[in-house]
Amino acid sequence: MASVTTKPIDTTTIEVPGQRAPLVLGSPDYGTVTESVCRLAECKTPMSFYVALGISASLMGMLFGLIGYLIITGVGVWGNRSPVFWGWPIVNFVFWVGIGHAGTLISAILFLFRQNWRTGINRAAEAMTIFAVICAGVFPGIHIGRVWLAYWLFPIPNQMEMWPNFRSPLLWDVFAVSTYATVSLLFWYMGMIPDLATLRDRATGKIQQFAYGLFSLGWNGSSRHWHRYERAYLLLAALAAPLVLSVHTIVSFDFAVSQLPGWHTTIFPPYFVAGAVFSGFAMVLTLMIPARSICGIQDLLTDRHLENMTKVIIATGSMVGYAYAMEFFVAWYSGNRYETFAFINRAFGPYAWAYWIMVSCNVISPQLFWIKKIRTTPWMIFVVCIFVNIGMWFERFVITVTSLSRDFLPSSWGYFKPTIVDVLMLIGSFGLFLTLFLLFCKFLPMVAMAEVKSVMPRPGGQGDH
């Protein structure tokens, strides 16, 4: 075994100028990386996994049951009433799509910026992205009412001889989200092929051998293959990076291209993208902090990774805070009385409670990360990230509901009240998300082994880059 260590094991986890913290702690050995990642898929499944899976799968079952109830009964089971026709389902959609931004951002943009620390977290973050996009896709899918006509969203030749309107931001959204889901899936799967081959080569059971063998496509680690693989990965990253930015931009067009006060603003695209990255990173941390200690991969996913991500959260959280302030400034500066009203109503109207929850969770709580102690203590990071998740859900609620409930015509104003179905569906979507994530942790390589190995110092101390 090539476990020659030339220098004392570096356990630094925090960046100090002049010295880089290592990306992998412990004895940097290819075999131990493989071992620590594959152990999860190979060891006997602990009881706690089944308990967690049971809970989340029941919640998922509840979601599907409620979807069945919705389809049979109609969208009246939700709280969507005139004038708020975009209630919780759209809030949930935007919330989940936003969360789905972190994975590809970490994989693609950090890859292009040569941020090698991404290797520890990118796989799980990408998986999270895909599961979040699945959750997001559920809501507009069922929001259309007659779900069996969902194919009308796509330009499919039909007996009505009609085509969709390509000038509608809602159609752009269909293309953006489905492209994003597809490209993220390809990116995730392609990154996983060599690691699936590792699992295949270590598998002992017949079923595992067959399944991992099938999905690793016969990968044999050929350098000629690696050459094209790396090129393809770079190209996919280069394609996915602008795609990440485009998706939430187009989601924001759903709002910004309409003429409703509070929605019709040009700040929306950058503001939504910053918010999406913000919420996505918070969700990655929320998942990874417990997952890394349960799965015992602290050596691969170190405190340095967590700290780097908290820094991204401070940056994007401040951008979001700036956007909140700028919206008010623009509303006042524009002199548009409807716009001014929409924002005064947002902060001091009937939904003021939601607005101030949003501000305190999104603007104030991430600022705690300026304190080094909080930034380096996993449980504190976890708590702050929970607040950010809550805050970002409320942000979408505030944007969607306040503007719709009080538009131009006071006679049609109303107050939105969710039904129990709304609430349970949101909870159920977390069940779906966690079920998929648990299955991922159990059956798939949670850390990109090949990538981690490529950024580790080589035995003999040569060729570290």
Partner: protein, 460 residues
């Protein structure tokens, strides 16, 4: 040497050497060894590593891949498809007219152009990589080597293909051994049966057969007819609980689903009181507005009784005075004597045309009451038939035009009302033509002008 048959059996049974596999435990050793293999002039060989090893491309002399060009081509294709699709669908095949905006404008197409370009380019990158690498290739003789399992973990390999021109079992083996590997191993072709396991074949064929069922069912249903109603998988709005005209309901106290019009309601287009002479033929409506209708009903009722009376021999004599009473009531009404609209040549022509369509079949072309329907009824001795009145009797000639209009509208004796078929302006036109017919039989020739006389003489 064996016979031909034995030889063929031999090639079947005995595995062939297809390559050599050298194992290394250090990436740098692999790179150093690769340089030597490359320099020795081998072509069909490869290295296998658990992760992309930097520096191996130069060490092996791998040429840069054409993948970026494939990706670029796919991206361009995606963008072109997006523009073409949006142009054709929204500006040509199904044009969207929105506030007079141009049917096609590039800025609105940009999001989808971008998305489709990225999508196809991503497909190009992923499937291009797989294609160039000839993956998926689930079987590989290298996988038979136990040592090779560590290629995805922590070991590094050089594989040398026996098809290489420079390859020879002994020389190449020695050469590989000189590179300081942990071990060198021979790779033999697989001689085990290439047949799929029996159970798998059975399961796959079962799945195949089951998958054929839905299309077969669809094809069967498409090509046959059935008497049963179609299956409503999704009922949409095929069955609605809405109320229909002829049904009963317990929703309303009267038990009808159809609702009568509310008293005093005027249906659209039925407001007549702004022009009473035009719609009723009366100068003004009588105080008791119903008198017109009631009088009419009485008149008809008497008719009906008259008819009934004819059949049974012991029936009471019909109350004839009721009809006379009703007629008297009508006579007293203030009928108009002037047309409530300007009289024109066009109106006369219209009246003639309408008269010939609606009236002449009974009344005859000249209004003598000798229309074909009437003649036929008389010929068949229809007991209930009442011969239509001639227009040329004194009684009829004296009737005010309002009364004539009223008769056309509401009917008299056997004649039904024509207000449903003929709009009021046409009824007035018919009245005008009727007056003309009357005048044609009852004019003193001396009152005519000379040119009129000559015109009449010329008309045949």
């Amino acid at each position: 040497m064996a016979t031909t048959i034995e030889q063929s059996e031999k090639t079947k049974a005995e595995p062939e050497l297809i390559g050599l596999l050298a194992e290394f435990d250090d990436p740098q050793a692999l790179i150093d060894a690769s340089v030597k293999v490359r320099d020795a002039g081998y072509r069909n060989w490869d290295t296998h590593t658990p992760f992309p090893l930097h520096g191996i491309d130069e060490a092996m002399g791998i040429k840069f891949t054409i993948l970026p060009w494939i990706v670029a081509a796919c991206g361009l294709t995606g963008g072109t498809i997006a523009v073409g699709m949006q142009y054709w669908m929204n500006a040509v095949d199904y044009p969207f007219m929105i506030s007079g905006k141009p049917l096609f404008s590039l800025p609105a197409c940009i999001p989808i152009i971008f998305e489709l370009s990225v999508l196809l380019a991503a497909f190009g990158a992923f499937f291009g990589m797989l294609g160039l690498n000839q993956l998926p290739k689930l079987y590989n003789p290298l996988f038979k080597s136990d040592a090779f399992r560590r290629v995805t973990n922590d070991r590094f390999f050089i594989s040398m293909d026996a098809s290489d021109a420079k390859f020879s079992e002994i020389d190449s083996g020695e050469f590989l051994n000189s590179l300081n590997p942990i071990s060198v191993e021979e790779c033999w072709s697989d001689v085990s049966s290439p047949k799929l396991p029996r159970n798998l074949v059975l399961a796959l064929s079962l799945v195949g057969v089951i998958m054929l069922l839905p299309p077969a069912l669809v094809a069967y249903k498409r090509s046959t007819t059935t008497n049963t109603p179609r299956i409503h998988i999704i009922p949409d709005m095929d069955f609605q609980p809405s109320l229909k005209a002829q049904n009963t309901t317990n929703l309303f106290p009267d038990g009808r689903e159809i609702r009568p019009s509310i008293k005093g309601a005027i249906p659209r287009g039925q407001f007549k009181d702004d022009n009473i002479p035009f719609y009723y033929g009366l100068k003004e409506l009588p105080e008791d507005q119903d008198v017109v209708v009631i009088a009419l009903q009485d008149e008809k009722k008497t008719d009906a009784k008259k008819e009934d009376a004819k059949k049974p021999a012991d029936a009471k004599p019909a109350p004839v005075d009721a009809a006379a009473e009703a007629a008297k009531k009508l006579d007293k009404l203030p009928w108009v004597t002037e047309f409530p609209m300007p009289v024109t040549e066009k109106m006369m022509a219209r009246g003639k045309e309408r008269f010939r369509i609606y009236c002449s079949v009974c009344h005859g072309l000249s209004g003598d009451g000798d229309g074909l329907v009437s003649l036929r009824a008389m010929e068949l001795l229809q007991g209930t038939w009442v011969k239509p009145a001639s227009y040329h009797t004194d009684n009829v000639r004296k009737l005010p035009i309002g009364r004539l209009f009223h008769t056309i509208s509401n009917g008299v004796r056997k004649m039904p009302g024509y207000s449903a078929q003929i709009p009021p302006e046409d009824r007035w036109a018919i009245v005008l033509y009727l007056k003309a017919l009357q005048k044609s039989r009852n004019t003193d020739a001396n009152t005519l002008k000379d040119d009129e006389k000559s015109k009449l003489r010329d008309t045949k």
